[in-house]
């Protein structure tokens, strides 16, 4: 079962510059910051209510986030739903015939995560996370 919005992902050119607005101007506390090598990003989670805003800065030119930035510029990138059982959730999703990017859950900044294909959801990139 999908319980809540875990976070909304936003692609930015520079975490430091984005902090000036999201952390300093809006006053959202930075809860976690880390480099996620296999996604080619430096990422931060900022707390808002019982969800978070994830800022994503590409650290190389080949990852999906870098390509997004080059093609569309900074902006909204994905929505992540939280679940207690990501393996079961992903399995159920695949059984419904929904196109996925990750066949198995993997480690991400938000815990165990997986991405579905945006073509399955009207252009919206959806992530599941089990913290």
């Amino acid at each position: 079962m999908l319980k809540k919005i875990h976070h909304v992902g936003i692609v930015v050119r520079s975490l430091e510059e984005a902090y000036r607005f999201y952390r300093d101007t809006l006053g959202l506390p930075v809860h976690k910051e880390a480099t996620v090598e296999d996604q080619g990003v430096r990422a931060a989670l900022l707390t808002i209510g019982n969800s978070e805003i994830e800022l994503l800065e590409p650290i190389n030119e080949s990852g999906g986030v870098a390509k997004f930035l080059e093609k569309r510029g900074e902006g909204l990138h994905h929505i992540c739903f939280e679940t207690d059982d990501i393996a079961a959730e992903l399995e159920q999703t695949k059984q419904k015939g929904i196109a996925v990017i990750d066949q198995k859950p993997r480690v991400g900044l938000a815990g165990m995560i997986c991405f579905l294909h945006p073509k399955a959801n009207h252009g919206v990139l959806i992530e599941y996370a089990q913290p």
């Binding site: 936003i10 101007t25 808002i48 900074e74 739903f81 959801n121 009207h122 252009g123």
Partner: protein
């Protein structure tokens, strides 16, 4: 102190509302809380609830709605992030003091909306929303 208290909703612009509602309810099982036209904004929309927030699927009903331009240029997808505030005027004043303009709009049902330009929010069209008390 955070200026906004929670994510209220994420708006997703779609070509056909009924098709999109079917997709999101079938794929994720989120319940529909509200559905219908909003003449003041030139849209038809539905809210699907998840936790204490929701996804708003909306279909522009004419070319005046900026969602139409978005659809033509980029196709369907995430359009806007809406954060809830207790007092929109206070939040707008605080942002104005920091050099960020918020354009405020009141809807007939008492809802108050403030919009921060994507130029100020790193490409994100950011909405601040105050629900009627």
């Amino acid at each position: 102190m955070s200026l906004a208290k929670k994510i209220d909703h994420i708006a997703i612009v779609v070509k056909d509302l009924d098709t999109a509602v079917d997709t999101f309810t079938e794929n994720f099982g989120f319940p529909i809380s509200r559905k219908g036209a909003v003449p003041a904004l030139n849209i038809e929309r539905a809210f699907l609830d998840i936790g204490d927030a929701s996804l708003e699927l909306f279909q522009p009903t004419d070319d005046q709605n900026p969602g139409t331009k978005f659809l033509n240029e980029r196709g369907e997808g995430m359009y806007l992030l809406s954060l809830e505030v207790d007092d929109l005027q206070k939040a707008a004043d605080e942002l104005a003091a920091k050099g960020i303009k918020v354009s405020v709009q009141a809807l007939p049902d008492g809802m108050k909306l403030g919009f921060v330009s994507p130029k100020n929010a790193h490409g994100v069209l950011l909405q601040l929303i105050q629900h009627p008390k």
